[in-house]
Point group: C2
Chain length 79, copies 2
């Protein structure tokens, strides 16, 4: 079973990486980019075959290791 986790900085948290990307895109002539946010995506191959258990397990991984929940939010997709 595969899981995909998106980890983004929460709204309101300054995202210097995204800002740098926006600036660089402007320099390259890509106008019309209003805002850029950069985050992480983590793809996991799990042994678990039950989707609900897999989701619980991945949520626990996010809380304990993958995301810094003070400044980051995460979302889990199970496929």
């Amino acid at each position: 079973m595969k899981a995909r986790v998106h980890i983004m900085l929460k709204n309101g948290v300054l995202d210097p990486q995204g800002e740098a990307v926006r600036h660089a895109l402007g320099s390259l002539g890509f106008d019309g980019v209003d805002a850029v946010r950069q985050g992480k995506v983590i793809e996991l191959d799990l042994n678990e075959t039950d989707a609900e258990k897999a989701r619980e397990s991945v949520n626990a991984m996010c809380e304990k290791l993958l995301a810094n929940t003070v400044i980051e939010s995460y979302s889990v997709e199970i496929a």
Copy 2:
């Protein structure tokens, strides 16, 4: 119009970050994680209102700046 870009290392390219995450999950007692790949996700707010044009524009951004196409593959979602 919003766009989301996923940038992952191509299959076969060593992913030390993902490997480190897998190892750390094992240390924390999360067994049953076979493989981990870590990538980037970039969310863009675009002025463009035409979905096809937006997709073309974001593809060009990926080729020129966002992805290193030698070792990374990207996928674009327009929403």
